[in-house]
């Protein structure tokens, strides 16, 4: 495989093995993503989607395999250094700081030194993009509704001016009407040029918003392809509901 670095290849993960202590959860996952692309990862819960994203973000060490982002090998870099390459994770369950205000949560998104000087500039940008956050800026994040917390978590991710935004289950636990708003927002962010790797259990919406998709099952990529083709594939339904092959 030519090692020549393809300029518009933003993320290249090769044959990743990831484990929590003794329990291996991800087996030989490879995925790649080009600049400006939206790629989604779908599969029933427990398929290893969140673990893969956490490994890409550097929260869990990779036991085997390589991660190359924007041309540099970040495999062994800890999470707080990886974010400097503008690779940002919006974690599952949002993981905001409940007793800090919305503004403080957003500001922390621009914590790494090079971003601090532009923090307030980015803050205004986020407030224009999500006026609801501006209204709630003084409120403690713990008091926000599920949907508002999700927007705030995405806002925090955008504060770091990401090249690639790793979105983990953005619609988890949200009412259907809010789910549509979240996916529209994802479309808007992608249109603004941010590449997105979206992990979602909710297959249909993910297939609509992404160009290509990886289907995962018990820690392995079982299917990979353009999203429109997968929308009609019966395999997706089977992968989900465990119908015997």
């Amino acid at each position: 495989m030519a090692e020549r670095h393809d300029p518009d290849r933003l993320l290249e993960a090769e044959d990743l093995d990831v484990a929590y202590g003794a329990i291996q959860v991800v087996w030989g996952v490879s995925l790649h993503l080009n600049r400006g692309e939206v790629v989604s990862m779908i599969g029933p819960n427990g398929a290893g989607k969140t673990t893969t994203l956490r490994a890409l973000a550097g929260l869990i060490p990779v036991r085997k395999g390589r991660i190359v982002f924007n041309g540099c090998d970040v495999t062994s870099e800890p999470a707080h250094e990886r974010v400097r390459h503008r690779l940002c994770l919006v974690p599952e369950g949002r993981q905001l700081w409940p007793r800090m205000t919305v503004e403080e949560n957003l500001l922390m998104g621009a914590f790494s030194p090079p971003l601090r000087v532009k923090a307030h500039q980015n803050l205004d940008r986020i407030y224009q993009m999500f006026p609801r956050l501006a209204e709630r800026r003084r409120q403690a994040c713990g008091t926000l509704s599920g949907g508002e917390q999700q927007v705030c978590a995405i806002g925090r991710g955008l504060m770091a001016e990401p090249l690639l935004l790793l979105l983990d289950e953005p619609s988890l636990g949200l009412a259907p009407m809010l789910v549509d708003q979240v996916f529209q927002m994802i479309g808007r962010i992608a249109a603004a040029g941010v590449s997105i790797l979206l992990a979602a259990q909710n297959a249909n919406d993910a297939l609509l918003v992404s160009r290509s998709t990886y289907v995962m099952e018990t820690g392995r990529v079982v299917l990979e392809g353009l999203s429109e083709e997968l929308r009609t594939s019966d395999h997706v339904r089977r992968a989900y509901l465990g119908v015997a092959d």
Binding site: A22, D205, V236
Partner: protein, 240 residues
């Protein structure tokens, strides 16, 4: 036939969040029941309540015609309901055999003399007899899961609560654990089985209960549940 377990409107609040809302169902003796639902549906919370690890905010739990609502887990184990843990929790300083002995001596039989279930026999039955004297920390994940089952069986339960016994296992290991569950059921123990791996659960359960957002969404045979539109919507997302 009288149900072995019946729960009525079991509810659980955690600081304003409703983890479980009025969940009711009955389990008939001798069956394998699957408990499924997307992330955050409250499956583990419900299992922890039945095992006594946490206490319900309201609702009743009746086991073998005795009201055991709110009992602590050691009382539940002595009554005959015992759980395994999603992430194995061996007693690290004890050997495999000693781990199982804890179940034998403190479970329902209270280690009464002359009971059939001595520790070595259970290890053979579960298939890790060759590891009896090994320190429990040296076991592979699959074997640690078998130890969890062996320890739970050692208390001679009438109702076994399995918490994701197959997660993190390879295909062959999953298949052998499922065979073991059928063997346990044949020996007369009712099983309530929480699992993400739907293929595993559908193949072994005779009845499936589906949870979503802390409520019971549906209940029925595996085939019925797999074709139920509300279940598909909860899992796969509304069709476009």
């Amino acid at each position: 036939m009288a149900p072995i377990l019946s729960i009525d409107r079991v509810t659980k609040y955690f600081a304003g969040l409703t983890a479980l809302k009025e969940v009711s169902f009955d389990l008939q003796p001798g069956g394998i029941y699957g408990l499924i639902g997307p992330n955050g549906a409250g499956k583990t919370t419900l299992l922890s309540i039945l095992a006594g690890s946490i206490q319900p905010t309201s609702g009743t739990v009746v086991f073998q015609d005795r009201n055991v609502t709110g009992a602590k887990s050691f009382a539940m184990a002595q009554a005959g309901i015992v759980r395994t843990h999603q992430v194995p929790r061996p007693f690290r300083a004890l050997s495999v055999l000693e781990n199982v002995e804890v179940g034998v001596r403190f479970g329902r039989s209270q280690g009464s003399a002359g009971d059939l279930w001595d520790a070595r026999r259970i290890l053979e039955w579960v298939g890790i007899a060759h590891l009896a004297d090994a320190p429990s920390v040296t076991l592979s994940v699959g074997d640690q899961k078998r130890l969890e089952l062996a320890r739970a069986l050692a208390t001679r339960p009438s109702l076994l609560l399995c918490d994701e016994v197959c997660s993190g296992l390879t295909e062959p290991e999953t298949a052998s654990v499922l065979r073991l569950l059928r063997k346990i059921q044949d020996a007369g123990t009712t099983i309530l089985y929480v699992e993400h791996n739907l293929k595993a659960i559908m193949s072994v359960s005779h009845h499936v209960i589906v949870m979503n957002f802390g409520e019971k969404l549906a209940e029925g045979s595996p085939e019925a549940v797999q074709s139920d539109p509300s279940v598909i919507a909860a899992y796969i997302g509304r069709t476009a």
